[in-house]
Symmetry: C2
Subunit: 215 residues, 2 copies
DNA sequence: ATCCGGCTTTTGTGATCACAATTGCGCCAT
DNA sequence: ATGGCGCAATTGTGATCACAAAAGCCGGAT
């Protein structure tokens, strides 16, 4: 007989290191260009270099960290061209995810989205950049999970990961005082069953941060 | 003064292993579900387990290999749902790449595409599945390189990688006798500067293999 | 004060080892 | 012949070590 082997806690050391690093990067808790060392990560998480190396390699493969020619690891500093590309990718993938999620979006999901959206305000008042990014992404992820498209969602999360360190400085410049306008448009389009409106709202929300680069 | 440090040959061992494995997987030279061992890979490439492990981890992170709960590594066997998702991703990303490449596509590029396309016929007559996949992807990559969008191209290649082992069996069922019809449509649209036609042709070419699943 | 040289320290890489868990084979009982 | 049990071989994981290269630092010359 196979007992349930604690599916969440039975993780290897490199996986723990990977997940914690990944979370820090995705939520913009590490500044762009910050340097990391394998031994430093190892001692920070209480493991040897081996799991630290594997976690770092994995994050490099996902574009969350960049590797200098001499093997040094740091969070990437993205060029404006690359940011534009990643925003375009977010738009392409997330519009599709939202579109696929819409037919399955029942009322409980919409209420959940409204609840998440309402917590954004208090995070904003605390000037908590990482918290803002986290709640914002939770809003999107909650919607996209309904699309039942794990490969697409993984792709979208990879893009979020690559944008993580940059988002912090971007949202830092953005002196926001209220919950994002486009989130309300997304919820309204979901309620109305308005698919073109949903696609437009998601595209607008995703590319909105881009304006900070050009202006 | 900084001399050019042989940018292509100065590679670490794990990178050599990674690239060779990646090529084999992307071009469908490994059947879906095939098992791999770290020690096996190590001895095959004349290195120890350490570089083999890093190469495998990297490929797992890219979705090119799948990891069982006990850490065993194998090429993934994709469900039909996942294949549909990946095809949809190819369509989204590659249509955008083609669209961005079109304004920069001068006559030399079109001739290059025609040249690549003409070699497909002879590969087909040899019943060389891996060769067919390789030339087919080279056709697409050549076009997309002109888009000057490295992040998008990397995303597209990741999808190709995930589909690699499956493509072999897919193209195996496809008894093809001539170069793909949609490649000629792509070239014609490029020549005519017909952007909607190009988008349609790319979308059709990319999702064409999918019909083998449903019929 | 600034720039250059050499030296020390830090850092990544790859090999090897000990260990635990899983796998898979063979043997035995029915 | 078949199904289950147990042992042996295989395999992934993580730690440690030796080594080479890169980075940072300190001092001296100009």
């Amino acid at each position: 007989m196979l007992m349930n082997p604690k599916p969440d806690s039975a993780t290897s050391a490199h996986d723990r290191v990977y997940r914690r690093l990944r979370t820090q990067i995705m939520y913009g808790e590490i500044a762009p260009g910050a340097a990391l060392t394998l031994r430093g990560i190892g001692t920070e998480f209480g493991v040897s270099m081996t799991p630290a190396r594997e976690a770092v390699r994995r994050l490099v493969a996902e574009g969350a960290l960049s590797l200098s020619s001499s093997g040094r690891v740091s969070t990437p500093e993205l060029s404006n061209d690359r940011i534009e590309e990643l925003a375009a990718l977010r738009s392409l993938i997330e519009v599709e995810l939202a579109s696929r999620a819409m037919p399955r979006a029942h009322i409980a999901l919409i209420e959940r989205l409204q609840s998440i959206n309402s917590t954004i305000s208090e995070v904003i008042s605390n000037r908590d950049a990482a918290g803002y990014i986290r709640v914002n992404l939770e809003f999107h992820r909650t919607l996209y999970l309904r699309a039942q498209a794990p490969a697409m969602l993984a792709m979208a999360e990879t893009v979020w990961l690559q944008l993580g360190p940059t988002m912090r400085s971007l949202y830092g410049r953005l002196r926001r005082t209220e919950a994002p306008h486009y989130h309300r448009l997304i919820i309204a389009a979901l309620k109305a069953g308005d698919e073109p409106g949903l696609r437009l709202a998601v595209r607008s929300d995703v590319t909105q941060g881009l304006r900070l680069l050009t202006t």
